[in-house]
Amino acid sequence: MFTPAILIAAIFNGLLTGAVYALVALGLTLVYGVLHIINFAHGALLSAALFAAFFAFHQFGLDPYLAAFLLAPAFFACGYAFQRFVIGPASHGDDRNMLLVTLGIAIVIENALLYAFHADTRTIDVPYAFQSIDLGFTFLAVPRLVGFGAVFVVALLLWLIMAWTDTGKAIRAVAKERLGAELAGIDVAHIYAVTFGLGTACVAIAACLLIPTYYVNPSVGNAFVLIAFTIVVLGGMGSVPGALIGGLVTGVVESLSGLFLGDSLGQIGIFLIFILVLLVRPNGLFGAKA
């Protein structure tokens, strides 16, 4: 009933979608790996970034791919400030409080967007939105291919930062042994904020890659972030390669289960995998250490 061509097309499309999922998950897993909290504001920040990319194009005619170079630093600064001046001080170092503070920020951002821009769904019109490449057996949309490539560039950049810069080394030190890092003279509050900023910058880039083919409304980020949670858990919380592979796998699973089960049941497939992994292997498929 499903010809190989349809299946292969679904797998390719799943991979392309999965790459953007992976980028969203990358930000989330980074924050988890260092701060050991689930950032519930991640989805709301994605919605905010999508709005920013939308208005950059709509008001100033700025191409989303160029806007990424502006929005990534801007959202890095936002994320840094949130962690440094709101989440950090308000949570008194308690994990459960951090969860709640990020939830509070999520509620504020999402509803401020709703208040300012109403629930309308908006899209932008870029000339290359419908361009595609013919592979013989299937068509691949150009903007999604660009997104796919960009995700790997961002991941490589992130890896370089983590591996080679002093800040990256400090981040890894704090992630491994907070107290030891503090004793060695690392400013933990600053590193936490930098990490949160990097996670938020990932979201901003993801937004710029999404907006040419996607839409924006105040709650659009939630759908992504639930999937990103799944990916982070699949790949092992805090694992960067896990997030990349988990993202691609999730994209393919969603695409295939959508094909076989229909869209809404396809989503159930993702959540059931999520619950199963949580219950059976909470450290993720690739996570080894407890």
């Binding site: 949570s91 459960r96 503070v101 920020i105 509620i107 504020v108 999402e110 858990v233 159930i268 909470p282």
Partner: protein, 346 residues
């Protein structure tokens, strides 16, 4: 009234003071419809008490047990759907449906709790798994025919007490107030019971509690079932009051958020926290609407800001903050007396 309960906090104190303050608070609230006849006000108060009831359920598990659920909509929604479906599709009496709804919520709580506690999920992981269960239920409810799928389920209007429907808003108000009163008493009894002490021990240090011989999984499971039943009761009432339910309302993320918002803002792990928190947030939300017009989203922005402020400035909630303030005042000006904790609620 403020001097009514002169009890010390802790195991040595007796429980009469707290019972007295529950009676006083409920009596004051019960008198409201005798004074206020506006349906708008009563609707507001019903919504507030509904949030307080759902929050009290969360408070048992999250406040006393330290297990922060982000998916209490799973219980609210199950209670609502069971009540509605039994009445509409099987012609079951509304009161029986109501009881079945509470039981249904408790069963869902037992299943989710059993699975996740047995796997040792805590902290962020527990938050995520509860969120995911609620999402799965929402998606299932949005496609299966028995729930009315995307259209939702409408309960027939039948304004008789035997159908659990009342012509007067005031009666509905008294019903939900009675349910809140029961939840206050249950929470108080839990707080003073051996089970409650185990629960707090698990919250403070799970490994230490286990080492002392507390059956951690059973204690958490017990709290989850009780918690689920109370939040499910709120769902059952919702259906009888609004006569409509769909998957977005029943299992919506907002239900889960509101259930944790009220106890955390009011005072997490306190008997009156959820009620107090619900009164504060709902009033602030209405206030924001009055000031800036009824724009969607504005009241929720206020909720979010209050949540962050409360966690930042009074991590034990407003009740905890007030208690600390009173203790401080007491030490300063009345060194002999220890102010009763419940005095603020009178």
């Amino acid at each position: 009234m403020t001097r009514s309960g002169m009890t010390k906090r802790g195991a040595t104190g007796h429980g009469i003071g707290r019972f007295a303050s529950i009676v006083i608070v409920v009596a004051v609230l019960a008198a409201v419809p005798l004074v206020v006849h506006s349906n708008v006000t009563l609707n507001f108060l019903v919504a507030t008490l509904l949030a307080a009831l759902a929050g009290q359920g969360w408070n048992i598990l999250g406040g006393y047990g330290g297990q922060y659920s982000f998916g209490h909509a799973a219980f609210f929604g199950t209670g609502a759907y069971v009540t509605a479906i039994l009445q509409v599709r099987y012609g079951v009496n509304a009161w029986a449906g109501f009881a079945a709804g509470i039981a249904g919520g408790a069963v869902v709580g037992a299943v989710i709790g059993g699975l996740s506690f047995r796997s040792g999920l805590r902290g962020s992981y527990f938050a995520l798994v509860t969120l995911a269960f609620a999402e799965v239920l929402r998606i299932v409810a949005s496609v299966t025919p028995i729930t009315g799928a995307g259209v939702g389920t409408l309960v027939k209007l039948d304004l008789h007490a035997r159908a659990f429907q009342f012509e007067s808003r005031a009666v509905f108000y008294w019903v939900i107030l009675a349910m809140v009163a029961v939840s206050l008493v249950i929470t108080h009894l839990v707080e003073r019971s051996r089970f409650g002490v185990w629960l707090v021990a698990v919250r403070e240090n799970e490994d230490a509690a286990r080492a002392l011989g507390v059956d951690v999984i059973m204690v958490k499971l017990g709290a989850m079932v009780l918690s689920a039943a109370i939040t499910a009761a709120a769902g059952c009432f919702y259906v009888q009051y609004f006569l409509f339910i769909d998957s977005g309302i029943a299992y919506g993320t907002w239900i889960s958020i509101e259930a944790l918002l009220t106890p955390i803002i009011g005072g997490v792990g306190t008997v009156f926290g959820p009620l107090f928190g619900a009164l504060v947030v709902k009033s602030l939300g209405e206030g924001a609407k009055l000031l800036a017009g009824d724009a969607p989203g504005l009241d929720l922005v206020v909720y979010g800001i209050v949540l962050v402020l409360v966690i930042g400035m009074a991590p034990r909630g407003l009740v905890g903050g007030l208690t600390a303030a009173r203790r401080w005042c007491g030490r300063r000006w009345r060194p002999a007396s220890i102010p009763a904790e419940e005095a603020e609620h009178g």
